[in-house]
């Protein structure tokens, strides 16, 4: 190799080396932190785009202090819990804001997976919040999440069927009256009999409406928990579920019926009375608008408070909704709580209700004229939220809920004399680690 050719090669090599270095610099530059305000990731449950809209609104309102990005969680509450629990246990720092189903809050609060709520935020976000939603946001009497929206079930009925059955729907009605009316009119009751979370929602509401409670000491450790199912309230609840199941009043689809399928049943010609969340109102309106349902159906639908178990005793309707929590490993907990204060403002809650059908937890939002116009039953929802009782608040909620589902579904297999007792025995054995679930 001559010196000339060698120097030519070096000369050719120089620009290449420079190009490689420049590319590497560009790549490294690309890896550096992006410019701009801190990004807060908000893990949201699927909705009709309402949470993403609120995120954009609050990002704008922050004036460059932070930017909220949403990340979608799975469809059902149980899968949402699984994903969040695994991420929290692994110390995932991207969990800045989380939309949490209230029954799962204690399980995440107990091991310290949630960042503490600052006193100022707690004070400002709990004013005018309905009692049930507030209870669901606490663990061991301490606010660990911020109530966002609160859901409750109403009694929905077909006015024509109620009229034919001679029921005065201006006054509270009982389950026994509904069962008699459905039998007499040869119609189906819209209840949720599937082996799913909706079964626990139903059982809890029945037991609580009868004056009982599923867990007597929810704060207790797993092996010391006392259940209240094997009680007069539990027996009465089992009697109602069993009668509906055994007499075929919930339709042949009852053992696999969830909230959505019971709505379809209610909308059909065999529909009569149904307990369900308020989403059924916008869904039915959309069905009419899309031409899938007859317009007369809307005029035939009435609503009232959840049915009573004992005549004259206020019912305890189911309570649902979403609370907002901040992950303990979040890099921006202070900003996250500032963002949460924006998200849960009464104005945003009212707008979320109108656009997505999810009722506010803040009573102030019910005064918004848009709410009154879109939801003629808003006052009933608000009253129902005041009466509503949350599901058991325990870190072992999953075991308790699944234990109930496995023993109370299908409804036709429920025996009021033995099911409450066998469920209690089963759940306690599971909690003591002696049985599989």
């Amino acid at each position: 190799m001559t010196a000339e050719s060698s120097s030519r090669r070096r000369a050719r090599g120089r620009p290449r080396t420079l190009a490689v270095l420049a590319s590497a610099a560009l790549l490294l530059g690309g890896c550096s932190a992006p410019e701009g305000p801190p990004v807060l990731t908000w893990y949201i449950n699927p909705d009709a785009g309402g949470q993403a809209a609120i995120a954009a609104k609050c990002t704008e309102a922050a004036g460059g202090k932070y930017r909220i990005e949403t990340s979608l969680l799975p469809n059902d509450a149980a899968s949402q819990r699984e994903q969040l629990a695994r991420r929290l246990a692994a110390g995932d720092s991207s969990l800045d804001i989380m939309s949490l189903d209230p029954p799962f809050v204690p399980e995440l609060a107990e091991p310290g997976f949630l960042a503490p709520v600052p006193a100022g935020t707690a004070r400002r976000t709990t004013q005018n919040v309905v009692e049930g939603a507030l209870t669901g946001a606490k663990w061991k009497d301490k606010l660990v999440t911020v109530p966002f929206w609160a859901n409750t079930q109403l009694l929905w009925y077909r006015k024509s069927v109620a009229r034919a059955a001679g029921l005065d729907m201006s006054r509270p009605v009982t389950w026994d009256q509904l069962i008699d009316a459905a039998k007499r009119e040869k119609k189906y009751l819209g209840v949720q009999g599937a082996l799913a979370e909706s079964m626990t929602v139903w059982v809890n509401a029945l037991v609580a409406s009868g004056g009982g409670q599923i867990i007597e000491n929810p704060d207790a450790p797993a092996d010391q928990i006392k259940l209240g199912l094997d009680s007069p309230a539990g027996t009465k609840a089992a009697g109602i579920v069993s009668t509906i199941g055994k007499e075929g009043l919930g339709s042949p689809g009852l053992p696999t019926q969830n909230e959505n399928t019971s709505m379809l049943l209610f909308q059909g010609s065999d529909g009569s009375f149904m307990v369900n969340w308020p989403f059924i109102w916008p869904a039915t309106k959309d069905g009419v608008k899309g031409g899938n349902l007859k317009p007369a159906l809307l005029a035939d639908i009435g609503w009232g408070l959840y049915p009573q178990v004992t005549p004259g005793r206020d019912s305890a309707p189911p309570l649902g909704g979403i609370n907002l929590g901040v992950g303990a490993a979040s890099k921006h907990p202070d900003l996250a709580y500032q963002a949460i204060e924006c998200i849960v403002s009464p104005g945003n809650q009212a707008e979320y209700f109108v656009t997505n059908g999810n009722p506010p937890s803040n009573t102030e939002a019910y005064n918004d004229p848009r709410v009154k116009q879109a939801f003629p039953m808003a006052a009933t929802i608000r009253r129902s939220l005041e009466l509503a009782k949350p599901r058991p608040q325990t870190p072992y909620y999953n075991e308790v809920s699944t234990g109930i589902q496995q023993n109370w579904a299908p409804p036709s297999a429920v025996d009021p004399r033995s099911t409450p007792e066998s469920t209690t025995k089963f759940i306690l054995e599971v909690l003591r680690g002696e049985r599989l679930l």
Binding site: A89, P111, A194, T256, T261, E399, P410, E434, R435, L437
Partner: protein, 320 residues
Amino acid sequence: MTVTTRQKQAPEAVRPGGRQYSDRTRAERRLGWLLAGPAFVVMLAVTAYPILQAVYDSLFQYRLTAPQDREFIGLRNYAVVLTDEVFWRDLGVTLLITVVTVAVELVLGFALALVMHKALTSVRGLLRTAILVPYGIITVVSAFAWFYAFDINSGYVNHWFNWVPGISPDLNWFADTWTALFVIMASEIWKTTPFISLLLLAGLAQVPDELTEAAEVDGATWWERMRRVVLPNMKAAIMVAVLFRALDAFRIFDNIFIMTKGAYGTETLSLLAYRTSIGRLEIGLGSAISVVLFICVLLICFIAIKLFKVDLAGARGEKS
């Protein structure tokens, strides 16, 4: 043989253990390790590590949301699992699904393999593609398709087959163990019969035509030719097909997860392991179930290979 000759020519090296390898052999062994090494390391990372971790975790009482309460409890998790009726019920369902689906798939798959084997060259490609379509569909998608077909609210099966005794518009297939298992198994059979038929087709192709022709000349009927010539000659392929499908069927998850989520007595061991580890976040107990499931799979392999003498190399034609 070339290698052997060259081995003699190459200078020999003595290993401390006393075995002698030529330079070339050593170089080839080194190359072999270099080529296979990365794959071996990846296999260790994705299989051996999780298995060992699961075995370790199964000895603890360990809940993901209560890490501070983690406690060594020896084999207590296994005692809970093996003495619980839920485990034995789920094992029974798993075995039932395995036996029924593999048996039906074997018969149907063999019939399809015969059709593909004998089909005219002009339609062979089209036929094979048509038969393989279900196997090309993602299991979750096929599970949803079967679910919606049989669902009491959205399904058409109840209306189309209303004339069949026992089927009516009010039949809720997924509310009863046996009807739900029927749909689950039918879906599984529909989806995986093409796989078994492909394996059997490979076996059929190995049977020399001369043998069947000779049997035909000797006056053997079609059934006799099948029973005495074709089947004995493709025994290895059949056993491999059965083993592969049995292992697959024993771990069934997707179909049941989509259709019933294990409700009403349709839960299998995979689903129980998932529900305990992921649903309840009981890592210790869930790992114990996973380890038991793994041992069951090993047992099936052992029974197939040792007792039924499944010859994996023979099935690939390596010994023919």
